[in-house]
Subunit: 426 residues, 2 copies
């Protein structure tokens, strides 16, 4: 069955995925002589860098996600289809989706990355990941439910209900740990006067020797200091080996009694059926050349987290960051336009604009190409950069408002457990 | 198994349900010499009058729900337990819940009302109700998904995907119909330029002779005129007899091809096991005397939608409205305090403060005890009254902000389909 999309005299570019890379590409093609079709399983773009604030009741999901259709109102060459992609057929030049087949002239795979549990089924079953807004909401519910549950368990079990272990000391893990530590200090004791929060441990476990491995040692050390000052137990050079829903097993042979394990320790490219085996590299990433063209395939491109462009500077591909995806989406839009004009294409070169992470109130680490800075100023820079990147004037304003509110009141008010009842219809 | 709650020298009042009635009672008992335990299956209070704005993407759920714990921070005699109530045992003076048994000295049943499908299993299976924030979110998802689905169905089926039928012409049905009509006019065509919205019908079906039966005929007529001007088809004196997920069967022998049926046509008291049969009246409501004491039971009270107090003025019990619940909760708190002082109790007498409904921009009907008014002024009164009633300064501000935003931009930005994936853990 074919999906009906209005015929066009222009060639059709089908983009799988409306994350940072796919969205940037589609936006840059607004006025190009191509028909653009974006396929996504959600009807909204997600601003992943702030998922951790949704998980910790600081922001509403709607403040950091944005409907595609609203973003492309009045864009005539744009079409959106809400669908799951099952496979691609590069011979027939079709994408097989849950709503039917979609033909393409050019295909751009911007499917992003999902959680990598490295084959550990126990961890996959019991740990809570945070790679989508749904998972972040789920985690918010779970964190809050643990405190409710803790009220009615035996005193000796209570510590395990209050304790949160985070696997992965990248920005997500660091930011989560810091926020949870501040909740423990400022908010939770007010909400739960019946619980003793000295029993609550927040443990951050990182396999590498340093937190925030994309940053310098100095910045990692600073982040670790901040976290420890807030009461987070930081374990570097340690891995989570197993988890049965109650006990976290670490590679240093110790264990943590912890009902909640948050998984921020690994990602892998979202796999698409139909691509030749030889196009797949480490971590399910699709091997591309400097023009983001998939190796050995014509008119098929991959950008962002799902793509692996091996260069001298990046022998294992670029870091899987929003910045890389956006820059690749941007360049690919230019190359598509050049193609029509018969101009030669430009190769990709990543420009690192800087990395940053926030740990808590007035506490952040920022590394720009030429400067490193920490503390209050870094924290305001972090906020400005994130506000600037959020889609939509209203969302920017709402996020800003929430931040100001939370800063002065020490009281995030979204501690809501909104679970879908099993008896509700699909 | 007993649920642990700190011992107190004061008698314990257990309140089942934190809706308008239960919440008012608990708040008024803040400084009383009672231990107060509120049991609710959600950790938040819901502001039901604005559910319809959540269902139509106008407000975020978190703007109109509020965590109980936050509301009772620093209240020493207050305890909250997140639990489902299975039954009450009035002999043992215990409430049986999903987390164990909870003892009481005084029990207040404020369990509210749920959907009444009048025994029609087909309608229960296929229609979408809107009696909780979860159901409202579910409906928001469904309304939006229908438009996405409409893009890939056969042209002759498309009308049914776009059409929305609403059963029940009370305030909920009227407000929903009006809002959907404005979405059809101002928003949806921009989001879905590929669809022809002339094919979208909005049909409001009411069994009685007039919409808004709690109001005067004049006001009902005014509401009907407003709706028809917005393009809503209003069918009074007509019932929805059946629905198979595709075709709505009406009592006048006609049918409507409509994939979406919203059920706002009936409620019944939320049933609790363990109460003697003779305490139950029509529509599962619990029969109470003028002090809201359940007939034949000591120290057991019922307030709000679940209670039925038969009086001369209200031979079928009071209307199931927030105002009644709040006034009963308020009076019961006073009677509890009088009891301690050995004073005699006051009987309940309902004071109707007025009823109102909004139909759309600048369009509302308001009936106060002495005045009736319509149009722009009524619409601003409606907004002020609702803003005033919403819990929390931040929520008031957010709702106000959203209203102002939507008023000037004609563009609600929450058109997000956030569904829980089935593969996510519970």
């Amino acid at each position: 069955m074919g999906v009906h999309i209005a015929k066009s005299t222009d060639e059709r570019i089908v983009i799988i995925g409306g994350g940072f890379g796919g969205l940037e590409l589609a936006r840059r093609l607004r006025k190009a002589n191509y028909q653009v079709v974006v396929i996504d399983k959600n009807n909204y773009h997600q601003f992943q860098p702030l998922f951790y604030q949704v998980a910790t009741s600081g922001l509403e999901p709607s403040s950091i996600i944005f409907p595609f259709r609203k973003n492309f109102q009045k864009v005539r060459n744009f079409h959106f289809r809400l669908a799951e992609v099952d496979a691609v057929d590069t011979k027939a030049k079709q994408v097989k989706t849950s709503i039917g087949d979609i033909d393409y002239d050019h295909l751009v795979i911007a499917a992003g990355a999902g959680n990598n549990f490295f084959g550990n089924e126990q961890i996959e079953k019991y740990a809570y990941p945070m790679k989508s807004i749904k998972e972040s909401l789920k985690l918010r519910n779970k964190i809050l439910e643990r405190f409710e549950e803790a009220l009615s368990v035996n005193p000796e079990e209570r510590g395990a209900y209050l304790t949160v272990t985070i696997a992965g000391g990248g920005p997500t893990g660091v930011e989560l740990a810091g926020t949870l530590a501040e909740m423990k200090r400022y908010i939770l004791p007010k909400d739960y006067p019946e619980l003793n929060f000295d029993e609550m441990r927040i443990v951050l476990v990182e396999g590498a020797k340093h937190l925030l491995s994309a940053m310098s040692e100095k910045s990692s050390e600073k982040a670790k200091q901040y976290l420890e000052k807030l009461g987070v137990e930081v374990k570097v050079d340690t891995r989570v080996n197993d988890f049965d829903g109650k006990i976290v097993q670490l590679s240093d042979e110790t264990t943590i009694a912890s009902k909640t394990l948050i998984w921020a320790a690994g990602i892998k490219g979202n796999f698409l059926k139909g691509l030749p085996d030889e196009t797949l590299g480490r971590g399910n990433r699709i091997l591309v050349d400097e023009f983001n063209q998939v190796k050995g395939l014509e008119n098929v491109y991959a950008i962002g987290d799902v793509a692996m462009m091996v260069t001298e500077a990046y022998p294992n591909g670029h870091p899987q960051l929003a910045q890389v995806a956006i820059q690749q989406g941007n360049l690919l839009s230019k190359n598509f336009k050049r193609k029509i004009l018969g101009k030669s294409l430009s190769g990709f070169s990543y420009r690192n604009l800087g990395t940053m992470a926030t740990i808590g109130r007035n506490k952040a680490v920022v590394e720009l190409p030429k400067y490193k800075f920490y503390g209050f100023f870094a924290w305001t820079v972090w906020m400005l950069v994130h506000l600037r990147s959020i889609l939509g004037v209203k969302n920017k304003f709402l996020v800003f408002l929430n931040w100001v509110w939370n800063y002065f009141t020490y009281n995030l008010s979204l501690r809501l457990i909104i679970k879908r009842n099993d008896d509700l219809k699909d």
